[in-house]
């Protein structure tokens, strides 16, 4: 119902249905990072800016685990982040490294290359694929996810994230240096398969202060996204 309404509004405004959807959903910007990586702070700073300033993007910081086994235990690292980046690494043929930013599951760039990432975000805003509208509402301890009708199939990923963490750089001397990181992903899991028909899912709130839902096509591209809170943190 709702998706049909959005569709007709889009048509009324003289836009193609695709453009109507594309304008609706945020562009998903995934940063793969680690506190053990000394090339990462510039990319973290960039993601922090996107988190604060932009409502048209959904920035998410995934902390990978592969630096942990070399001695730096990142408190926010998750195997799921490492696995997700590994799949991207195979698709893009560039392996796993930090900091890496993937835009809409379609373009990969060095996380500190603002120009390149910025262009990818603009390209995704105008030409990104959107298969269906996604919405999230909270009912007590549950989240209700709705994926509208559309064309294609995709995985529905439920993502929990924290708005901001400030971590003391405990390995250093006592100059009070800290690292501030925004939109730190705390959990990600697949909660359903969408195959074109409208889909409603109810799930317990995931770990994390805020919630995002991403619709991922079989080729790894992101074709739908939404977040629970209004936008910038």
């Amino acid at each position: 119902m709702r998706s049909r309404l959005v569709l007709s509004l889009g048509l009324m405004a003289g836009l193609s249905p695709l453009a109507a959807f594309a304008a609706e959903r945020p562009v998903v910007v995934e940063l793969f990072t680690s506190q053990g990586c000394n090339s990462c702070p510039p990319a973290n700073a960039y993601l922090n800016e996107l988190s604060k300033d932009r409502r048209d993007v959904l920035p998410l910081a995934f902390h990978v685990t592969y630096w942990d086994r070399l001695g730096w235990k990142d408190p926010f690292s998750m195997e799921a982040a490492t696995d997700r980046q590994d799949r991207y690494g195979h698709r893009f043929g560039d392996g796993s490294y930090t900091p890496e930013i993937v835009v809409d599951g379609a373009t990969s760039a060095v996380g500190s290359h603002r120009g390149e990432v910025g262009s990818a975000i603009e390209a995704a805003k105008h030409n990104g694929r959107t298969a269906a509208a996604v919405s999230i509402t909270r009912n007590g301890g549950q989240v209700a996810i709705e994926v509208g009708a559309g064309n294609g199939i995709g995985k529905v990923l439920l993502i929990g994230f924290d708005h901001e963490h400030t971590t003391p750089i405990s390995r250093g001397e006592n100059s009070g240096r800290t690292l501030t990181e925004n939109n730190v992903v705390r959990s990600i899991r697949s909660v359903g398969q969408w195959s074109g028909a409208q889909l409603r899912i109810s799930e317990p709130l995931p770990e994390g202060q805020d919630v995002a839902v991403v619709l991922e096509a079989p080729d790894g591209q992101i074709v739908g996204a939404s977040r629970l809170s209004g936008g910038s943190t």
Binding site: N38, S39, C40, W67, L70, E173, N174
Partner: protein, 277 residues
């Protein structure tokens, strides 16, 4: 086609090498990519009568790339070595050539930003018998990105005369860059103690050079926790023959605590221990 032809040529030359070249290479293949790669080398092409083998872990870094020292600092990761699978080797000792300091975005890291050989001393279970060095290395290489690398390196050495290999010179040269005693570097430590200051504890080190004057001395202090303190403030006196260095330290728990201090100054390096009380 071309590729296949090249690899068969390589195979052919490898197979011929032991006959065509009496002092044949004692080195594993390079493992890595065009940015960072690592291999094992040995100072002899066979195991002679001695009770130890001299070997090396050689890292190659492309311009703009670096790897890490044993204590990497605020971020970064030291190489992790796993010797499982080695044969006829009882004990391994790794030496660390003098590193350099890198500071970016307030993070202190201790790095190798040029090719480096970590000298290895391997004790044999049975001198004179064949040995195999098998080493799994997990390490990180960074430029504007950091890449995790895993290398499985293997080098078999037959029983033999233990004659020097072509790689022996690389290992010898690397040994000379491993910090030794201050005296061996022409330096005298005239004072070294930890004192409380208004901003917290500090390590105060007084040095005299019996050789050329000090230029830009740095101190890497290990044992204060996981990180590495920032570079010292340096006062030079007597035309640079004397140096007074002050390193701010994090708060230390009570009790005696040995601090390992690595001093570097251009091509000189030395290591000594200071007990913080």
């Amino acid at each position: 086609m071309t590729l296949a032809r090249i690899s068969s040529l390589v195979l052919l030359s490898v197979a011929l090498a032991p006959w065509s070249n009496p002092a044949h290479a004692a080195a594993s293949d390079w493992v890595g990519d065009r940015h960072v790669a690592v291999r094992l080398i040995a100072a002899a092409d066979s195991v002679g009568a001695g009770s130890t083998l001299q070997a090396g872990l050689e890292f190659r870094f492309a311009k703009g790339w670096h790897g890490y020292w044993r204590t990497p600092g605020d971020a970064g990761v030291a190489p992790m070595l796993d010797w499982t699978g080695s044969e006829n080797i009882a004990r391994e000792e790794v030496a660390w050539p003098a590193p350099s300091r890198s500071v970016s975005e307030d993070l202190q890291t201790v790095v190798y930003d040029h090719d480096v050989v970590l000298p290895l001393t391997l004790s044999l279970r049975q001198p004179g018998a064949a040995a195999r060095i098998h080493l799994s290395v997990l390490h990180g290489g960074c430029s504007e990105i950091c890449v995790p690398y895993q290398a499985d390196l293997s080098l078999a050495l037959p029983a033999g005369s233990g004659a020097a290999s072509p790689e022996a010179a690389l290992i010898d040269a690397a040994r000379k860059t491993v910090p030794g005693t201050p005296a061996s570097a022409g330096i005298e430590v005239t004072g070294a103690h930890v004192a409380g200051t208004a901003t917290g504890p500090a390590l105060l080190v007084d040095l005299r050079s019996h050789d050329k004057p000090f230029a830009k001395p740095d101190l890497f202090v290990e044992g204060t926790g996981d990180g590495i303190p920032a570079a010292p403030t340096v006062e030079l006196e007597a035309g640079g023959q004397n140096a007074h260095l002050t390193v701010r330290l994090p708060p230390l728990p009570p009790g005696d605590r040995p601090l390992t201090v690595t001093l570097t100054d251009q091509d000189r390096a030395a290591e000594f221990v200071v007990i913080a009380q």
